[in-house]
Amino acid sequence: MKILLIIPAYNEEENILKTYQKIIDFNKKNKTKYDVIVINDGSTDETSKICHENNIPVIDLIRNLGIGGAVQTGYKYALENNYDIAVQYDGDGQHDVGYVKNIIDPIVNNKANMVIGSRFIKKDSSEFQSSFARRIGIKMISFVIKLKTNKKIYDTTSGFRAADKNVISLFALTYPTEYPEPISTVEVLRHHLKVEEVPVSMKERTKGKSSITSWKQAYYMINVFLSILIIGKRVK
């Protein structure tokens, strides 16, 4: 089975090499064969240089597209290179490569098309659970998704996710460029594909800043709600 880790990176010069090195070390130790593709989202720092100097497989986007556009490029790459599973993986050290096996397991066993690495599925499963305000936000999005699709998704904004070939094809074709995590989940559910959640632990970002700042959160929530509600009302 060909497995690809898609790592979107925007100005991650301090984290990207460490993240890559951990994956390579893990591969050696555990005899796994996780391929890596870094999508450098038009970084203005040395991210691209560090990747090229250290032979990290990288696609340099010629302009910044934002997280959605970057991740979608990864799915296009996965589709072109015939990968069986694509795993979205953060370049900032939040995700632990040890959990990749747990995330892809339901796909390997034909139990799911998409798997979300979830911080909230078991209590205390994750040392890092995000701020209080953000957890409330995630709960509210979860509620709207449940209303819309009848499926309970606990960690709606988790960026640690695995996709099988069906989902890779779907995402390569259409992927929400804004607020991609919750909205793409609803898209997958609407295509009658199976979504599962497995518990993972996440760390706090080691360096750099998260892409969602607090004052943008209310705006983010309104956008996500509206986007989820109109999915399905759309006509082609």
């Binding site: 990288v58 696609i59 340099d60 986007l61 010629i62 302009r63 597209l65 556009g69 979608q72 490029t73 296009k76 790459y77 072109e80 460029t177």
Partner: protein, 111 residues
């Protein structure tokens, strides 16, 4: 309608006609978009020449003041045009994203 107002309307329409034609000749304005503006200019000219049409329509719609009718029509038109522009911009953004992704993928394959 006041004569001065009519005169102003006609002069403004002519002025606008010149500007539209200028951008059209310079190929800054596509023909299909210029048609909308020419149509609006034509309507302005007609109304300037025959103001009674405007007064009748305004009264028919129940407006007490002609001016508020005119402002209302212009506002509606502007909102409509802005909406169409938003859609065009969004469509362009989608295409740009696609092009950036495909070129970036191609460039990385070449290396």
């Amino acid at each position: 309608m006041d004569t001065n107002l009519r005169l102003f309307l006609i002069i403004f329409a002519i002025f606008w006609f010149i500007i539209t034609s200028y951008f059209l000749k310079k190929q800054k304005l596509p023909v299909k978009y210029s048609l909308v503006w020419y149509a609006i200019i034509l309507i302005m000219l007609i109304l300037g020449a025959f103001p009674n049409i405007l007064v009748s329509i305004s009264e028919f719609c129940g407006f007490q003041v002609l001016a508020s009718f005119v402002v209302g029509v212009i506002l509606t038109l502007m909102i409509f045009i802005t909406m169409i522009l938003t859609i065009i911009v969004a469509e362009q953004k989608k295409r740009l994203t696609l092009i950036i992704q495909e070129i970036s993928l191609l460039k990385s394959q070449k290396k």
